[in-house]
């Protein structure tokens, strides 16, 4: 049996949130409510897998990642990263992981890129040979070599993200956590970064946990997705299964005349309403689009309608709405 890179079982983490109602000067004594950020999550990740973490903001994704990187101590549950317990062996864990935060840089703002790389080299004890090889490799794919002398603050967002990812991989970690790595980037930059991630994953079998809201990135990169909401796992399965399970889905978008009339249908799933536009997901094996349109026409006057294939985003929305039923 192939051992797992990451093993998480019944992980629980709660925060104490201060009650903001009384902003008195003695706020040391204010009351707390306990909020469960992570409520019994379990999953495993195999070596070389790319796992996509999906979930609304506040779902518990970053808390889980923080526990995996050893920053937070779980309230209960089992957690193993590369065979060690992260919070018990913070330094050793740190050696085998790399982290990229889309919104918070790990680089030294005023210094040339090369300096940040060299600091990584010193802190992570990267050998001269590995350092040189990695620099060359990263330059081949990401063109990082062009920026070595430029201070980080002078780079564009796309350039900076490339450097961030290169820096996170310099010490050849076995696992990399990517938190919104492509946020704010244009299409071309996103493309390049995703290419790089895929390549590194294939070449070095780096296990990757990708947290993102961008479904296209998920579709391109991930082998598996884990959907989290309110601290609980809602869905855990590989992309192919998801696609085939929900792949038979189609989306019917109808634009009805009377937008104020409440909209109910017997077939399919209304996953979104935008004023007079209704988005309905249905399984093409169960109903045909024509039947659905006719059915709707009985109740509501239709201004316009269109039919689209579903993509991951809609599938996830469907998963959410199914969960909420």
């Amino acid at each position: 049996m192939m051992s797992n890179m990451i093993e998480v079982e019944q992980l629980v983490k709660s925060y104490k949130i201060r009650n903001k109602s009384d902003e008195s000067r003695f706020s040391l004594l204010s009351k707390y409510t306990e909020k469960k950020a992570v409520d019994g999550i379990s999953f495993q990740v195999k070596k070389g897998e790319i796992l996509g973490f999906i979930g609304p903001n506040g779902a518990g994704k970053s808390t889980t990642v923080k526990m995996l990187s050893g920053i937070l101590v779980p309230a209960s549950g089992k957690i193993l990263v590369n065979g060690i317990v992260p919070y018990k062996n913070r330094k050793k864990n740190g050696q085998s992981i790399g982290v990229v935060f889309g919104q918070r840089s790990q680089l030294w703002w005023n210094l040339p890129v090369m300096d940040s790389f060299e600091i990584v080299k010193a802190i992570y004890k990267v050998s001269d040979k590995n350092f040189k090889d990695n620099l060359e490799r990263f330059h081949d794919i990401l063109n990082v070599g062009e920026y070595l002398d430029i201070p980080v603050r002078k780079l564009s967002l796309g350039q900076r993200m490339r450097v961030e990812i290169a820096a996170s991989l310099m010490h050849n970690p076995e696992i990399v956590f990517l938190d919104e790595p492509t946020i704010g980037l244009d299409m071309v930059a996103k493309e390049k970064i995703n290419e790089f991630i895929k390549l590194i994953n294939q070449e070095r079998k780096v296990t990757i946990i990708l947290t993102t809201h961008d479904m296209r990135d998920i579709e391109k990169l991930c082998d598996r997705i884990l959907v989290i909401d309110h601290g609980k796992t809602i869905y855990d399965g590989d992309i192919e299964t998801v696609k085939s399970k929900y792949g038979k889905n189609r989306m019917l978008i109808v634009d009805i005349e009377d937008e104020l009339k409440s909209f109910h249908i017997n077939y399919g799933n209304v996953i979104k309403e935008e004023g007079s536009k209704k988005y309905i997901m249905f399984n093409k094996e169960d109903f045909s689009a024509i039947d659905m349109v006719n059915e709707i026409e009985n109740e509501y006057a239709i201004k316009d309608f269109s039919l689209v294939e579903t993509d991951i985003e809609d599938i996830v929305k469907c998963i959410y709405s199914e969960q909420n039923k």
Binding site: E23, S24, R25, S27
Partner: protein, 264 residues
Amino acid sequence: MILPYLLEIKLSLRDRLVFKKDVMIRIITSFLLSMTTMELWSVIMRTSDNSGTTEGINTIKYMLLASSLTMMIDATPGDEITGRIVSGSISRDLLYPVSLPLIILGKSIGKVIATFMLNVVPIFVVLSLMYNISWTSSLSSLLLAIFFWLIGYLIYFMLNLQIDMISFWWQETFYFHYTKEAIYAFLSGALIPLWYYPDWLKRVVNLLPFKNIMYVPIATYLETVSAEEMKWNCLNMGIWFFVFLFITCLIWNIGVKKTVSNGG
């Protein structure tokens, strides 16, 4: 016409009152700082046989007044213009039909009033009680001292503004603020009463504008100033006030012209 400036004062005042915790913390620090001075000076006066003398009592009173005035003066922001130039918002500020220096003055006055009400008054009262100080000067001395201090404050404000305006050309003005602080503290009587200074230093100080900010108002209130000295003080104050006014307006106009011509 004057309304926007009054509004600025009011807003600045209200701003300071928002965070109660903040207010408490500031009072504690200021109190401790003032108390250091008071403790030190009361020991010095006590152990140097000066405790009963007029000079001894006046020194203690002087130091308390100096601490209080320092608290108010420190509330004056020194980087309003620098901040706006660095962030680029100066171009927007110059479009408004109000004078930016006067707006900044309004803001400063608001902060000074807030500091006065929240910090100076409580600390002044507590320390006066702690060190058994009775304030016995006449009303006319008090009013005259207040008047002198207002002018002195404006002189300080203009000095501050001039340094702030250096940012039109060189953006890291806080070095100059440190230098200004150093020079001003030493030459204004903020550190120790000027009557202790050696004669040659007194002559230098008398020619410079700094004493108007601290020494002149305090000494006037404490009635340690002779009529002759008072005349010279007024002359010094008047001349320096107008000199600074001229310099400030000059630098402002040149600076604005430069900014506008460079496109902000």
